[in-house]
Chain length 224, copies 2
DNA sequence: TTCCGGATTGAACATGTGTTTAGTCTATGA
DNA sequence: TCATAGACTAAACACATGTTCAATCCGGAA
C-alpha cells in the first residue's frame, strides 16, 4: 500500500529513512547526517523540516503509531499482536522498518512505546472478554492481568526476534529479525501450551496460590 | 554478597558504575565522562584501565555474564529465568543493575546477550526434559521449540518490565522496572495459563495444524 | 634512602555531531 | 515579468566525546 520512494515528498523520504535508521541503529547511534545521506539530502534540510533531531523522532513516533493504529482494529486474532505480525508476514519488506522501529520504541523509554503497549493490552483484553462470552476462551478471574501476560508473550516475539530466529535457525543470517519461517515454527508450540497447558496438573498453581496468600510480604516464595 | 563500594578496587568501581550507566542509559548515550564521574575518577583513568570504551563494555559483559552464570545452575524453577528473578526478589537493590544491564544486552546486538539467551533456553530445555520424565510437565514433540517459547515468555518480564509495572501499577513510579510486587501480580495468571491453558478446546490448535500442514509456502495462513 | 612502576589527574587533541547561517534555486502567484 | 516563499545546499559553528599525553603521587623493593 505504500508508494515507492520516488513518489514520496522529501519530508516523507527523510522520515522513512529515519524510521529505518532509528530502528536499526537506535536513536542515539543514528546521526542526522546518516539520515540525510540515506534520504539523499543535506543535513541542514533535515533540521529545516523537523526543527531538531528530537522533532524528527517525534514525527517518526507519530507516523509509526498512526500506521499501526489503522490496522489491527478490524482483525481480532486471539493470540493478539499476531494480527500485526500476520499482516507483516504477507508484506515482509514493506513493514520491516516499522516492526524494528516499534521494537526500539518499546525498549527505550518513550510515550509512543507506552501508547503502543497499552493499545496492544487493551485489544487483547477485548479479545479475551469476547472469547470468554463466546466460550472459546477459558474464564479468568483477573482478565486484566491475564491480558497483560498474553500481550507480553506475544510481544516478546518482537522483542527477542533476533534471538529466536538465531537459535531456531529460521531465516537467513542476513535477516536479523522476524520472518515468516520463524512465526511458522513458533505458532504450534505456543498454541499447544495455550490449549493443553504446560504442566500436567495443578500442583504448581496450587502451591503458588498458597504461598502468595499466606506470605504477602517479601520473602522466599519458591513458585514451584 | 557484594562488598560496599568503598571496599572495591578502583577498577571494579569503574566497572560497576559502567554497568549501572550502560544499563540505564544504553551504551551509546552513557559517556566515558559519566562513568568516570559516577566512579569518582578521571576520564583518563577509565581508558587507562580498560583501553577504550569498547573494552569497558567487554569487561562489563564478562562480569555480568559470570555473575549470572554462577547462580541459576543449582535452582531449577520450571518457569525458568524466574530463578534469577526470584533471587533478585530477595536482594532487589543488589541485582537491579545487573538486571537492567542484561535487558540492554538482550536488546542491542551483542555476543553476551546471545550467550545469555542461549543459556536460558538450554536451562529451560533441561527443566522440560526432567519434568517430562518426572511426569509434572506434559509431553511435547518439539521440546526445543517449546523451550524457546517458554524461555521467551519468561524473559519478556525482563524486556517489558517497565511497561508491565506501568500498566499494572506495581511498584512506585521511581522504580521503573521489575519489582517483587510485579512478580507477585504476574505469577498466578501465568501459572493458570500454564496449568489449564488459555483456550477452552483445541479448535485453534487444530486449525493451525491444518493450515501449516497444507500450506507450507508463504501465504495467508490466518491462524484464526 | 633511592628508585621504579603503576595509579591517577588535568589539560589538550581530534573528531563527530546537532545546529545555524547565508545564500542559491525553483516554482507559483500577482 | 517580477517578486516572494519555501525547498535545498555548502560551509561554518559550537559543543560533546573518546582518547592521548605529560606530569604527579604513592607504595614497595633494593
Amino acid at each position: 500500500m505504500r508508494s515507492s520512494a520516488e513518489d514520496l515528498t522529501t519530508r516523507a523520504r527523510i522520515r522513512d529513512a529515519a524510521i529505518r535508521l532509528f530502528g536499526r541503529d537506535g536513536f542515539a547511534r543514528a546521526t542526522v547526517r546518516d539520515v540525510a545521506s540515506a534520504a539523499g539530502v543535506s543535513p541542514g534540510l533535515v533540521i529545516h523540516h523537523f526543527g531538531s533531531k528530537a522533532g524528527l523522532r517525534d514525527a517518526c513516533d507519530h507516523h509509526v503509531l498512526a500506521q499501526t493504529a489503522t490496522q489491527g482494529r478490524e482483525k481480532a486474532d486471539p493470540v493478539s499482536t499476531r494480527q500485526l505480525i500476520q499482516d507483516y508476514m504477507n508484506h515482509p519488506d514493506q513493514y520491516a522498518d516499522e516492526i524494528t522501529y516499534i521494537r526500539r520504541t518499546l525498549s527505550d523509554e518513550s510515550e509512543a512505546g507506552d501508547a503502543f503497549f497499552d493499545a496492544v493490552v487493551k485489544q487483547t483484553q477485548d479479545i479475551i472478554h469476547a472469547g470468554m462470552e463466546a466460550g472459546t476462551i477459558r474464564k479468568f478471574n483477573d482478565v486484566r492481568s491475564t491480558a497483560v501476560v498474553i500481550a507480553s508473550n506475544s510481544l516478546c516475539i518482537l522483542m527477542l526476534g533476533r534471538h529466536l530466529s538465531r537459535t531456531l535457525g529460521a531465516a537467513g543470517p542476513e535477516s536479523h529479525g522476524i520472518g515468516p519461517e520463524l512465526l511458522r515454527q513458533l505458532t504450534l508450540p505456543a498454541l499447544e501450551i495455550y490449549t493443553h497447558g504446560f504442566y500436567t496438573d495443578a500442583r504448581f498453581l496450587d502451591a503458588a496460590r498458597e504461598a502468595i496468600n499466606s506470605n504477602t510480604s517479601t520473602g522466599r516464595e519458591h513458585a514451584p
